[in-house]
Amino acid sequence: MRRRMVAVFLAPALILYLGFVVLPALQAFYLSFFQTSGFKDQEKWVGFGNYVQLAGDPVFWLAVTHMLLILLVGGVAVFGFAFLFTMLINSGLWGKKLFRALIFMPNIIAMVGLSTFWSFVFMPRYGLLTNFFKSLGLDSLASVAWTAPEHVFWAMLVGVVWIFAGFFTILILAGADKIPTDMFDAARIEGASNRQMFRLITVPMIWDVIVITLVLWVIEAIKMMEYPYAFGGPNIDQNLYTPAIYLFIMGFGQRDPVYQLGYATAIGVAMFVFTIVAVLIVSGVSRRERVEF
């Protein structure tokens, strides 16, 4: 392959990627050292000022707490379901492809649509959940206000888990399908149960896939915005803030413009740092616990 072809084939992708992803990312680091509302003449160098302010901002830490809850509590639920579904689907059931397709399906529907549906499910008084409990005569459960400040985050998390469990099921399932079947046959002859085979064959054999899915989850969880933001509606409750939502509100305002562009980008940089640290932790931990065959 000649040099010129390499250059011509790469140039458009490289220009777009550098111009609209890499350059803006670098610019974000630069911008985070300024106090600015977007007009050049008002830019004021503040050094690490935005980060100092961020460190003492309770709303930011609230958002970070939510991020960690999504990452860890949501993560345990997402992967718990994904492994359960993988195990069940592979236990020799009829309709494997149908189950897989339906479990993944939420991922092809617009987030705004999913969050609208779940908002109606959790709606106070008239919501589907309240209605459901009422019809069962469970009045104490029917009177719970699922969108009240103390519950709304968990109501939101239900939708997130529902969506991402499907996403990671298909990835883990695809990994499990690559394992040679004679390993399972041999184990079955030896009298291994489904659970034993899953723990002792499937998990070690697809460890690489598990690590990739964990990395993907970390990336998704830290940048999460679309679902909780739409779930929160017009006057979004602070109990639903994620760092990305707080960034958006500081940068563009909910309804009243805030335009703290420097401060908002500092939140973005913090998210980027969280992502890198979390990915390093995941790959570090997973390397140590790796089972060698």
């Binding site: 390499v6 084939f9 990627y17 609209f20 992803v21 890499v22 069940l88 092809i108 958006f248 980008t265």
Partner: protein, 281 residues
């Protein structure tokens, strides 16, 4: 043997129950949303579980005309289709060179592109607004499309290069021995073989961009430039003033949902294999 069968069947039943319930929820959502979009507000709140007694199609007329969803639909269709075509034109050659080319730094450059998958998009919100404002393409569908293509590049190149790498190198060598030029090898040999992979990433990106709203929320200000997802989001935001026209909202959700669900009914296997091809190798 018989004992183990007997023991296994309640377990199997439980497996069907769990998987059936979870899968059923997806089906339920789609059907319930469509039902809800055909009710009036009183019907929706009074009997949320029942079928609509007399379908109210006005919800759609209202969404399509007064809420300008016709406009948003066209915007979405235009910007998403053009973005996907442009994305293929840009990403297929790049992925080809990055997987089959022999030059120094190929692997580094490939990783440099893949690294982009880890960049949180919200980090780019403000710099992208600044940049597109300077270029004069903020709040335009062209600007939105350019950003869509750029942001979709890392995932697309990742999946496509995996696809190109899986093609046997003998084909390439044979074509070169037969006297094909570099360009001819690409155009006549590799591209036709990669067409299914390209089609798969095209579908995946179509769905992803059709559904996204965070980038358009940041870049698009004018109501006439809204995409469908953004249109629904603005309908959600306006709900508190309009007193909550939920059936109208669900009509909007149906409009955004039907195209991707329809695609999925026909192409689910292909879409799932495309995603797992990217994530699991």
């Amino acid at each position: 043997m018989r004992a183990s069968l007997m023991a296994a069947s309640p377990k199997k039943l439980l497996a069907y129950l769990i998987l059936g319930a979870w899968s059923g929820l997806s089906v339920f959502l789609v059907i319930w949303v469509i039902m809800a979009s055909l009710k009036n507000t009183r019907g929706l709140f009074g009997q949320p579980w029942s079928l609509p007694t007399s379908p109210v199609f006005e919800n759609y007329v209202k969404a399509w005309v007064s809420n300008r969803f016709e406009h948003y639909f066209l915007n979405s269709f235009l910007v998403v289709s053009c973005s996907v075509v442009a994305l293929l034109l840009v990403a297929v050659p790049a992925a080809y060179v990055l997987s089959r080319g022999q030059f120094k730094g190929r692997k580094t450059l490939l990783n440099f592109f893949i690294f982009g998958m880890g960049v949180p998009i919200p980090l780019l919100f403000i710099p992208l607004v600044v940049l597109t404002t300077e270029l004069g393409i903020v709040d335009t569908l062209v600007g939105l499309g350019i950003v869509y293509v750029s942001i979709a590049l890392p995932f697309t190149i990742y999946v496509l290069q995996g696809f190109f790498s899986s093609l046997p190198s003998e084909l390439e060598s044979a074509a070169i021995i037969d006297g094909c030029s570099d360009w001819q090898v690409f155009w006549h040999v590799m591209l036709p073989l990669a067409a299914p992979g390209a089609a798969t990433v095209a579908i995946l990106n179509f769905v992803a961009l059709w559904n996204e709203y965070q980038i358009s929320l940041v870049l698009i200000n004018s109501p006439e430039n809204r995409t469908l997802s953004l249109g629904i989001y603005s309908l959600i935001t306006s709900m508190q003033y309009s007193g909550g026209n939920w059936p109208g909202l669900f009509a909007g959700v149906t409009i955004v949902m039907v195209p991707t669900v329809a695609l999925y009914i026909f192409l689910s296997e292909r879409m799932i294999s495309g995603i797992t091809m990217g994530g699991v190798k």
